[in-house]
């Protein structure tokens, strides 16, 4: 390892790094703006200046930019010397020339990298007497606020938005001091990852618009380590709360999962927590159909009495924690516990788990996905079902560029040089889906195919890799050469990756993906397989319930036969799991229906007893992500009124019933421990995070930063007598600012801050090296074999359907194959309730190709009647849609009936009218553009 000398002190440092990250890793405070650990260096801001000396005799030295200087053995630098210090101060002064006097009314203030760096270099007095340049702002949609005056032209925004996230509608425009970062015209930012601009921008040009209108400074936010519930990826988040409201969600660094970035569904979707339709009291349905509010004693008593007297069944939820589901399963016995998937989804998720357990290929973390050098995506539109994976795939195609760079001995952080070198050369990614996906621009080739053809393509690729002959008649002729080309590419790659998922509702595709991965492993490749599942705990639910769990229909049959008469539903809106008639029938089969949920929905309205369940920000729990990573989320704030975490309701009910199972359960950790002991597949969940006895050097970990303000005034309007701070009896975190937020395990990091580093750039103080994993270790415990532990047996395909059956849609004329087309905003139940995302959600529609639309006699914007009155949806003509398939917006209101259907009839709906849409003036483009 090279030894460098900085200010006379010698350090042994890691080779291949630049001087800036080396200095930060060594704990030296060196100001910077344009460098970002995930995006490398371009040397744009000239801030990170050091003086480098030729040798010990050199007294003058020369100024170098640390981010562009590789460390080399024997190099001599001066960081604290006058020359470098004055240079850095002059740079900040020049960056501040046009910076407005905005800090008090800027949403970045208090966590602003520019503020931190200005203080760090000691700049105080302005020498320039000229006028400040100003710019007009743009309306960039309901999520991001634009205030261009504050820009210091570090180029981080466009480098992130265009180069990293693949967006096209944000750019640097004009020249010299006219430079402007924005869109070519006002409008909503199109990238699904635009929200990261808030964290990437070192000053207040891009701020969180949802926060700006209900603002709280970073130092006033109470935060806890949490996990995003928006999809199955399990990104780590830091939600912040003040006055009982969730104010914002920031990224919580996890080197193996989300790294530095979240998707917009995760960042802005959690606002459902503040929804006005949150349940606050238990309710008992009276004879007249109205609910009477109960206190929790009465509700518990009632619940226990009902459970004790009745023959209980329960429906769990893939969006509830492992612990709550486990308790409910214990309460009603496993044979009476349905996991709470829709009937179709239950088979798919359970198959995805079986395939991954049996696969010889490794299950990649998101970071490993970035390392893949050839990718095959089968059927899944990951941008819309597991968005963070799409961002990782965009990085994976750059491995070709890194490979070329290595040939020229360019370091990977030489961002501009490597992009110049590679131009449009990318690692191959093949996508086979029913229609276009947002990843198409970086794919080597995309195929529009019907689901069964996608599966056939996968099987053909697998067969080619294994050297077997292609089965005839299964794959259309024109795809044979394509299958061979994909097979050759994958087989020639070092780290090939296959991605599929439950998103398009086909089990054949999942199996085909597993076939390809296993075939690659036979060829002695380190193949990876990633199977996407829809919800935050889908995989955990499959692990808990196993393959033999009853589905909704089975429970209904047994209830109708009189075997069961009481149903407990846990955090699950059943009307999203099946058609109206099916769920009405299911609920009607039971005499008593007890529903635990956080928000009012159709299922809670059908309950005889409704219990208010705390949401993810108010409770603790473990979720198992799609890579099989068990991760713990912690309460950010205390639930209001009679809201309780589901596990608290269930445990209290079991204690009231005096069930022997719960005698040794007193705390949340007891449930986790017993669940791990009882369910072999979940044995690892206790390692997800330390238990409540963990102390950080003798003290708890504070949820409130050291400058948390207003403690003696916040609730003085209610009572001037300040209550004792509530003690957290379930977790190692405290609801106070007392304690130590340093060097604890990564799973327990509630916020990042370091002296002199108020912004999120302080993260490097918590990392083993700048950009590296957290000092306390990466959060989460993997429950699936990461290196591929299976023998591949379960993964051999079932009998292959003949092609004639598979595309019945086109041949019979009137029957259409219905395929789900999930969308990032709107398909997820809870995030769709976030007011900001609700503005971006257009009503559900159905996609048809031009020829199909013409055959139905409809055009863009007309309505079609789906399945004889099951739904009426707007038509969008999409020529990338495969003929004979109709893609509908899955998970949207009005499409609930379609989930269970494969073949439908479509008919032009003459009486249909397009739903009213927001126009620009409603969104405040005209009046609000310049303000706020």
């Amino acid at each position: 390892m090279p030894v460098i000398t900085i200010d006379g002190v010698s350090y042994e440092v890691e080779s291949g790094r630049n001087l800036l990250e080396t200095c930060l890793s060594l704990g030296l405070d060196l100001p910077y703006f344009c460098w970002h650990p995930a995006m490398g260096s371009i040397g744009a801001c000239r801030q990170c200046a050091l003086v480098q000396y030729q040798n010990a005799e050199d007294t003058r030295g020369r100024i170098v930019m640390a981010c562009m200087t590789p460390v080399s053995d024997g190099a001599l630098f001066s960081l604290a010397g006058d020359k470098a210090r004055h240079f850095r101060e002059a740079i900040v002064e020049s960056l501040m020339l046009n910076h407005p006097h905005d800090c008090p009314v800027c949403a970045e203030g208090g966590e602003c990298h520019l503020q931190d760096m200005t203080v760090m270099v000691g700049h105080r007095d302005r020498h320039y007497r000229g006028r400040k340049n100003t710019h007009r702002n743009q309306y960039l949609g309901p999520l991001i606020n634009h205030e261009m005056n504050r820009c210091i032209t570090c180029y981080r925004c466009t480098r992130y938005y265009r180069d990293y996230a693949g967006g096209t509608d944000l750019a640097a425009m004009a020249a010299h001091d006219h430079i402007y970062f924005g869109r070519h015209q006002e409008g909503v930012l199109q990238s699904e990852f635009a929200g990261n601009l808030v964290e990437v921008c070192p000053t207040g040009v891009f701020t969180d618009k949802t926060l700006v209108h209900d603002y709280t400074r970073k130092w006033d936010l109470q935060s806890a380590p949490s996990v995003c519930t928006g999809c199955g990826v399990g990104c780590n988040t830091m939600p912040g709360e003040r006055y009982g409201r969730l104010k914002r969600v920031h990224n919580r660094f996890n080197a193996e999962v989300n790294g530095y970035f979240l998707c917009d569904r995760g960042r802005f979707g959690a606002a459902f927590v503040n929804s006005g339709s949150a349940l606050e009291y238990p309710g008992l349905r009276e004879a007249d159909g109205r609910y009477r509010a109960l206190d929790h004693h009465e509700a518990l008593h009632r619940m226990a009495a009902t459970c004790a007297s009745g023959k209980c069944a329960a429906i769990g939820s893939p969006r509830a924690s492992v612990e709550a589901n486990f308790l409910l399963r214990e309460l009603v016995a496993p044979e009476n516990f349905a996991p709470g998937f829709s009937d179709a989804e239950q088979g798919l998720v359970s198959l995805a788990l079986t395939l991954q357990l049996a696969s010889r290929a490794g299950i990649p973390s998101i970071r490993s996905i970035e390392s893949a050098d050839a990718v095959l995506v089968l059927g899944e539109d990951v941008t819309n079902t597991a968005p963070r994976i799409a961002l990782a795939l965009r990085q994976s195609v750059r491995n070709k560029a890194y490979e070329l760079a290595a040939g020229l001995r360019l370091e990977p952080w030489q961002d501009a040089a490597i992009r110049n070198l590679a131009q449009d050369q990318r690692s191959p990614m093949f996508i086979a889906t029913v229609a276009d996906t947002p990843l198409d621009d970086v794919a080597a080739k995309r195929f529009s195919l019907a689901p069964d053809d996608i599966a056939a393509l996968g099987r053909a690729v697998a067969a080619t890799i294994s050297g077997k002959p292609l089965p005839s008649g299964v794959l259309p002729e024109h795809l044979h050469s394509e299958a061979r080309m994909i097979a050759e590419t994958l087989a020639g790659a070092q780290r090939p990756l296959v991605i599929a998922g439950t998103g398009c509702g086909s089990s054949a595709i999942l199996q085909a993906a597993a076939d390809v991965a296993n075939a690659l492993c036979d060829n002695a490749r380190k193949a990876m397989i990633c199977l996407c599942v829809p919800e935050a705990n889908s995989l955990g639910q499959a692990m808990l319930c196993g393959t033999q769990a009853p589905d909704l229909a089975a429970l209904q049959r047994r209830a109708e036969a009189g075997e069961l008469d009481t149903l407990i539903v846990l955090e699950n809106d059943l009307y999203r799991r099946g058609g109206q008639a099916q769920i009405d029938g299911l609920l009607a089969a039971f005499r008593e229906v007890i529903v635990m949920d956080g928000l009012d929905n159709r299922t809670t309205s059908a309950a005889t007893l409704a219990l208010p369940a705390a949401n993810f920000a108010e409770s603790e729990g473990t979720l198992v992500s799609l890579e099989g990573r068990a991760q713990r989320y912690f309460p950010v704030f205390q639930p209001r009124e009679e809201r309780r975490p589901s596990w608290v309701w269930l445990l209290a009910c079991m204690k009231e019933m005096e069930l022997p199972e719960c005698h040794s359960m007193h705390h949340f950790d007891d449930i986790t421990r017993i669940c791990a002991a009882r369910i072999p597949a979940l044995a690892g969940i206790t390692a997800a995070a330390p238990d409540l006895h963990y102390l950080n050097l003798g003290v708890k970990i504070p949820r409130q930063p050291p400058r948390y303000s207003g403690r003696t005034a916040m609730r003085a309007n209610i009572s001037v007598h300040e209550p004792k701070q509530r003690e957290d009896e379930e977790t190692p975190l405290a609801f106070t600012m007392e304690g130590l937020n340093r060097s604890q395990p990564g799973a327990l990091l509630p916020w990042v801050w370091a002296p002199g580093w108020n912004s999120n750039q302080s993260l490097h103080k918590f990392q083993t090296r700048a950009g590296g994993p957290l000092k306390g270790g990466t959060a989460g415990a993997r429950l699936l074999p990461t290196g591929g532990g299976g023998n591949g047996n379960a993964a051999t395909s079932q009998a292959q359907p003949a092609r004639a059956e598979s595309t019945a849609g086109t041949t019979t004329g009137q029957r259409w194959q219905l395929v789900p087309r999930p969308r990032i905003f709107g398909s997820d139940e809870l995030s769709a309730l976030s007011p900001a995302l609700a503005e971006l959600i257009v009503p559900g529609f159905i996609e048809l190709c031009t020829a199909d639309a013409a055959s139905l006699g409809v055009k863009d914007g007309d309505g079609v009647d789906v399945g004889d009155g099951l739904a009426t949806l707007e038509v969008r003509v999409n020529d990338s849609m495969v003929a004979g398939c109709a893609g509908y917006s899955a998970g949207f209101s009005g499409t609930g009936e379609l989930a269970a259907l494969a073949q439908v009839t479509l008919r032009r709906a003459d009486a249909w009218q397009r739903a009213p849409e927001l126009i620009g003036s409603d969104r405040g483009i005209g009046s609000g553009g310049g303000h706020v």
Partner: protein, 175 residues
């Protein structure tokens, strides 16, 4: 011995002298002492010279407060100004240190020479915004934050603040 005797006698003499000096004690409350305008007493929120609320809810007073007795919530008015939706000072905790006034970037929060704040009920010491807000400018008469700030509000567009150039036309090719 002699030293201690001298010391005692000198002390007695000094005390005796004080019998003939003018008393410092005043007959409060009938008689009130003069307090300088910058005396640190009861806190008020002031308005700018144009009669608009000065407080922009930046939270700096709250974070500067050593006893954490200030709590507020920011909101945005229709004209684009930031303002406190509520602003609460718990005077039963306040130590009149003046740190909030020093921290305030808009001269909104000011301490006044009024210190007579006795209540039988502590909860009456909790002042909300309507109790704190005064109509005038307080000690600082001229400062108006929004004339300096780059934030555009109704009636003051981009480039119209002090020392600001008109907005740049991005499409212009002129140097």
């Amino acid at each position: 011995m002699l030293n201690s005797l001298t010391s005692q006698l000198r002390t007695i003499w000094t005390i005796l002298q004080h019998s003939f000096t003018k008393a410092e004690t005043v007959q409060y409350p009938e008689e009130k002492p003069y307090l300088a305008p910058r005396y640190r007493g009861r806190i008020v929120l002031t308005k700018d010279p144009d009669g608009e609320e000065r407080c922009v809810a930046c939270n700096l007073c709250a974070v500067a407060c050593p006893v954490d007795c200030i709590a507020l919530q920011q909101g945005v008015k229709d004209d684009g100004r930031w303002y406190p939706e509520f602003f609460r000072i718990n005077f039963s905790r306040c130590i009149m240190c003046g740190m909030c006034e020093e921290a305030c970037p808009t001269n909104a929060i000011q301490l006044t020479p009024d210190f007579e704040m006795c209540e039988y009920d502590r909860s009456n010491m909790v002042y909300e915004k309507e109790h704190l807000q005064i109509e005038g400018t307080g000690k600082y008469h001229d400062y108006n934050f929004y004339r300096v700030s780059g934030l555009a509000i109704e009636g003051k567009d981009k480039g119209e603040a002090q020392n600001e150039a008109p907005p740049i036309d991005v499409k212009s090719l002129l140097p």
